[in-house]
């Protein structure tokens, strides 16, 4: 392979590119480093120490303060909303994708087109009618007010990705299930689900991140501290502890920890989940 030789013979390092790469790293890391060191700084030292220096008396006081202020309840609310929403998104989207792929009715392809349109619309713009609807349903200021619209808004992209994945399953597999006398439900759960597991994980991760970090629905559709979720609690902490910057940033760190843990464990899934449907 002469081409490989030619390539190996020119190991000129890309200096400009490398420098730019390290510069971008600084842009990314400095704010994150600042969040972490500040959260470890005693409140009194915040005003006297250099804000980028390592704290001379590192402490977890800020974290204690946050945990003492109902942080765990907000955390629990976020877990509930995220788990219920993602479970429902995956179930209903997989069922719909199965119909789109396997049904011969014209309505199925029309359904798919409507769903595709849902991706092109900045759907957050419908927040006023959603608010009206939630009030009419008597769900205002409940966690269900966050779960139901979160599911609905996630359906277009989720169905699209699962549909594309299901299309690659050879039709013979479905036919042979039918020959064995399996009903549609059994085919869905014991054939479609296992074969599309990578796509299901991707869709699940993507939506979990969206719901976990969502801000607009909680802001508009809930009100009391009982139904407060994490992103909203950060905002509330900022108002309550306006003079205790380390505590506010400790809350930020705590809110990111579960996702950071997920990133460390399943980096590949998270990366493909985030670019779901857009990249290749």
């Amino acid at each position: 392979m002469p081409a490989r030789v030619a390539r190996a013979a020119r190991p000129v390092p890309n200096v400009a590119g490398g420098l730019a790469g390290w510069l971008w790293l600084a842009v990314i890391i400095v704010p994150i480093y600042y969040i972490v060191v500040t959260s470890l700084r005693p409140q009194n030292d915040y005003y006297s120490e250099n804000s980028l220096s390592w704290p001379s008396h590192p402490t977890l006081d800020a974290y204690r303060e946050v945990l003492a202020n109902d942080f765990l309840r907000y955390f629990g609310n976020s877990v509930f909303v995220t788990v219920v929403s993602v479970a429902a998104i995956l179930t209903v989207s997989l069922m719909a994708a199965y119909v789109v792929v396997r049904s011969r009715r014209r309505a199925a392809s029309r359904l798919f087109q409507v769903i595709l349109l849902g991706i092109a619309i900045p759907i957050q713009a419908t927040i006023v009618p959603v608010y009206y609807l939630i009030i009419q349903l008597g769900l205002y200021d409940t966690l269900w007010a966050l779960v139901l619209p979160s599911i609905a808004f996630a359906i277009p992209l989720s169905v699209l990705i699962l549909t594309n994945f299901l299309r690659d399953v050879p039709a013979e597999l479905f036919e042979s299930m039918k020959v064995d006398g399996a009903g549609e439900w059994r085919t869905l759960w014991s054939l479609a689900l296992p074969l599309t597991r990578p796509a299901v994980v991707t869709v699940g991760v993507y939506n979990a991140l969206q719901v976990w970090n969502g801000f607009l629905f909680p802001l508009v559709l809930t009100q009391s501290a009982e139904t407060r979720v994490l992103p909203l609690s950060l905002w509330a902490f900022q108002g309550e502890f306006s003079l205790n910057v380390p505590a506010v940033l400790a809350a930020v760190v705590l809110s990111v920890l579960p996702i950071l843990a997920a990133y460390v464990i399943g980096r590949r899934q998270l990366v493909s989940g985030l670019t779901a449907g857009f990249g290749k």
Binding site: P31, V159, L188, V252, G279, K280
Partner: protein, 315 residues
């Protein structure tokens, strides 16, 4: 399908078939449509109904508490001549264009950089991803503290130029917003470009190398043309995304100082939920939906018939 199936199964299929109630029922048509109804019902109730509802509400007066009352075209006339909303439109246009000008080249170059197989680039790519883990609220809170003129970055580094009242100065706040938007979203778009670059056949580069093309020539003659569809997909997402930046700006500046960073999505929220003018907010929402849909369709057409769709099919 029944015709093609082996005879043993067709007997069973026939037995399992429900009594025919008309054309379109039965196994031959595939799974029963009601498996799709949970998704349809949820999407219909919480997405399609509100989409129609926002158009209806734009012709009604509602303070968010009582019952909406018909108002005719009042909201439209009032909102379209409201200087705050007109200013919000101008700001949205600026944010859309400038954030594209900033994010698109940076993401593309970073994506090319991350696609390299060098070990240090793989490590850097892992770190570049980190902003995507933070919620917009978290990012905004962190930057508010970091940009504090007295206790933030400028004071720490001792550089007076950096120690400005970034968020309190109407001339600077919009630039801060644009930078922080970039900090949040460039990592996502660079991932798209990284994936795009890795799809380019290596043979193209090998041929170019044989022809003596340098790094810059390779970039302009191979990488850039080959990334055409990634550029269109990423740009569509950036531009439509500009119409939804809400939480970040809401927490970072609240639209201020004054109305210096009050872009349309924020204007919609503040009009509806702070001024209790849901009709006016719905007018702004309709504008957002129409512009977003228009931009998506136009870019989709530009890229050739449904190219974005078929690119998605490769997932």
């Amino acid at each position: 399908m029944t015709v093609a199936a082996p005879s043993a199964s067709s007997a069973r299929t026939r037995r399992a078939r429900p009594p025919a109630t008309g054309p379109g029922t039965g196994r031959a048509q595939g799974p029963s449509f009601w498996m799709a109804t949970p998704a349809l019902a949820l999407f219909g109730l919480f997405a399609v109904v509100p989409l129609v509802g926002v158009l209806v509400l734009s012709f009604m007066t509602w303070d968010g508490l009582g019952d909406p009352v018909w108002a005719g075209a009042d909201n439209w006339g009032r909102t379209l001549t409201d200087p705050v909303t007109l200013n919000a439109m101008r700001l949205t246009a600026i944010v859309t264009v400038v954030s594209w000008l900033f994010q698109a080249p940076v993401s593309l170059l970073l994506g090319v950089f991350m696609a390299g197989r060098q070990r240090y680039r793989a490590v850097l790519s892992v770190l570049y991803f980190l902003p995507l883990l933070f919620s917009a609220a978290a990012v905004a809170i962190a930057y508010r503290a970091l940009l504090d003129p007295n206790f933030g970055l400028g004071a720490a580094l001792g550089i007076p130029l950096l120690a400005q009242d970034w968020i309190g100065n109407p001339d600077l706040a919009l630039w801060v917003v644009l930078f922080v938007i970039g900090w949040c979203f460039v990592p996502f778009h660079s991932l798209l470009y990284q994936g795009g670059v890795r799809q380019i056949p290596v043979s193209l580069y090998e041929a170019a190398l044989l022809d003596g093309a340098g790094r810059v020539q390779q970039f302009f003659h191979i990488t850039l043309p080959q990334l055409k569809y990634t550029i269109i997909t990423s740009s569509t997402l950036m531009i439509v995304g500009s119409l939804t930046y809400f939480d970040l700006i809401f927490v970072l500046t609240g639209g201020g100082p004054g109305n210096a960073t009050r872009i349309l999505p924020l204007d919609m929220y503040l009009t509806g939920f702070r001024s209790y003018d849901m009709g006016g907010a719905s007018v702004i929402a309709v504008i957002l939906v129409v512009v977003g849909l228009g931009v998506s369709l136009a870019l989709n057409r530009l890229s050739g018939a449904n190219r974005m769709e078929s690119q998605m099919e490769g997932v």
